[in-house]
């Protein structure tokens, strides 16, 4: 292309030092531009005789291996962060939040009584559980949907995750303290009616006999899978 212009005799080619300046000009223009620039827009601001295409090609080559690349989008030119460094443009911000009492109670029931459906959780708590409470627990990553109970309505069953064990420093779910330990720790007082029991917490990875796997839509709804 450069030769072509040469042949046309439109303008004399740039001297080497002019060439260097022109390259710097293209670089600065592209850097400062708020929008991608068309080659023609760039050319309009360069000294006559400058070969924009050659300059852009050179600049692209210079930046090919850098942290920033010169790319062509929709026929225009722009600098953009190298694709492999895109992670630098994401920053995690962690908000420390405390779980509400309702969420804590629900979490505890899921932990002790899993796999538990929402109705079962409500039965233990004696109050209805808002949708938000389970959503929060799913968001913590401590509770997951395990499957669906093979029962009328096919309710979703909930259980704890490995993250739950990690967070609470438990080796296995069976390490959750039982009735006597809770009494011993003073968390339950002595007036325990006969017949009152705590379930023995267990969280088999496999589904229970009365559990079906989750439907694909369940996963979508919970945002656990990208569309």
């Amino acid at each position: 292309m450069a030769e072509e212009e040469d042949d046309d005799g439109v303008a004399a080619p740039l001297a080497p030092e002019e060439q260097g300046l022109a390259l710097r000009m293209v670089e600065a223009m592209l850097f400062a531009a708020a929008e991608p620039l068309a080659a023609a827009e760039i050319a309009a601001r360069l000294p006559s005789g400058a070969d924009v295409a050659a300059l852009l090609a050179e600049l692209r080559a210079v930046y090919r291996t850098r942290g920033v690349n010169l790319v062509r989008v929709a026929g225009k030119w722009m600098f953009r962060t190298a694709p492999d460094l895109a992670f630098l443009l994401r920053r995690d911000a962690a908000d420390q939040k405390r779980l509400s009492r309702a969420a804590l109670e629900t979490l505890a029931i899921v932990a002790y009584h899993q796999p538990a459906t929402r109705a079962e959780i409500e039965e233990v708590r004696g109050v209805s559980t808002s949708k938000g409470t389970l959503d929060v627990l799913l968001e913590t990553g401590w509770v997951r949907m395990r499957g669906r109970r093979r029962a009328p309505g096919r309710p979703v069953t909930y259980g704890t995750t490995e993250a739950f064990l990690v967070h609470f420093g438990l080796d296995s779910i069976g390490d959750l303290p039982g009735l006597d330990e809770l009494k011993g720790a003073g968390l339950l007082d002595g007036r325990i009616p006969p017949g009152f029991t705590l379930p023995e917490p267990r969280a088999p990875d496999q589904l229970a006999d009365d559990e079906d796997p989750l439907d694909p839509e369940d996963l979508l709804a919970a945002g656990l899978r990208d569309e």
Binding site: A93, D95, R101, E105
Partner: protein, 275 residues
């Protein structure tokens, strides 16, 4: 280009003062000056010497002449200019007259030096301002990235809870639940009315002595209400005996209670015999 024009605008006044050193040019008015110190500085520049070596006496003279000229032209002057004129007139007299004995008052020389200091300082600040604005300024001469790539903030909630929180919550709610269980299991009582109703249904069907437990049997099957059923039925039967509807007997202590109709049905033929 617009910027350059702007730049001249900003610095127009001193430029004009420099470009037209003739005092006459200044005499037009004081509109272009920012107070008496600015005017003094402009006048000082007409002396074309380093401010450090300026003649304060000559400067005071210039200022007073200038003000006098304005007064002659009957131009209105801000009070600041007049106060300065009065002060300079005083300074001039102090500089011209022999210094009195050393007193509390600063000498004329000291006052002149202080004025020179202020003029120098004002000029220095003007120069500094000029140097500042003539720097390569971001957004004017140098530019930052036109299309910065924003860092996407991924907000993630980190929940805090301890095992203790968890166990406390669990224990607390199970404890609450125990209390409610006790309420549900309140002792069941067979009321007298219930017993009487059952027994009344039997009246007229018990021609022979029949153990009470026979017709109570459907209710006695449940252990938890057996006692209350028996007690209420016995009470009710006593009532019905008193009312003359039943007869009650017991062969010995703890033997079964037996019931029979007090009014025995007469054979069909003798119907209505008793009335």
């Amino acid at each position: 280009m617009a910027d350059e024009r702007g730049q001249t605008d900003l610095w127009e006044t001193p430029a004009r003062a420099d470009a037209t050193p003739a005092e006459r040019a200044l005499i037009v008015d004081v509109d272009g000056f920012e107070g008496p110190l600015d005017l003094l500085l402009a006048l000082a520049r007409t002396q074309k010497v380093d401010l450090a070596r300026i003649s304060i006496l000559a400067l005071a003279e210039q200022y007073l002449v200038f003000i006098e000229e304005l007064r002659r032209l009957r131009l209105e002057l801000a009070a600041d200019y007049l106060v300065m004129a009065a002060w300079l007139a005083y300074l001039k007299s102090r500089l011209l007259l022999p210094e009195p004995e050393k007193g509390e008052e600063p000498s004329g020389e000291e006052m002149a030096a202080a004025l020179a200091f202020r003029l120098r300082r004002l000029e220095a600040m003007r120069d500094a301002a000029a140097r500042l604005v003539n720097r390569d300024r971001l957004g004017r001469e140098v530019f930052s990235r036109g299309a910065p790539e924003p860092v996407e903030l991924v907000r993630r909630s980190a929940y805090a809870a301890t095992l203790y929180d968890l166990l406390t919550a669990y224990a607390a709610q199970r404890q609450r639940q125990m209390v409610s269980v006790v309420h549900v299991r309140r002792r069941q009582v067979w009321s007298l009315a219930e017993a009487r109703e059952i027994l009344t249904r039997m009246i007229g069907r018990m021609a022979e002595w029949t153990p009470m437990e026979v017709f109570l049997s459907p209710y006695l099957a449940r252990d938890e209400i057996r006692t209350t059923v028996l007690a209420s039925a016995f009470s009710a039967s006593l009532e019905l005996v008193r009312e003359g509807k039943l007869e009650l007997r017991q062969e010995e202590a703890f033997a079964p209670l037996e019931l029979r109709d007090r009014i025995r049905p007469v054979p069909a033929a003798g119907e209505g015999g008793d009335g």
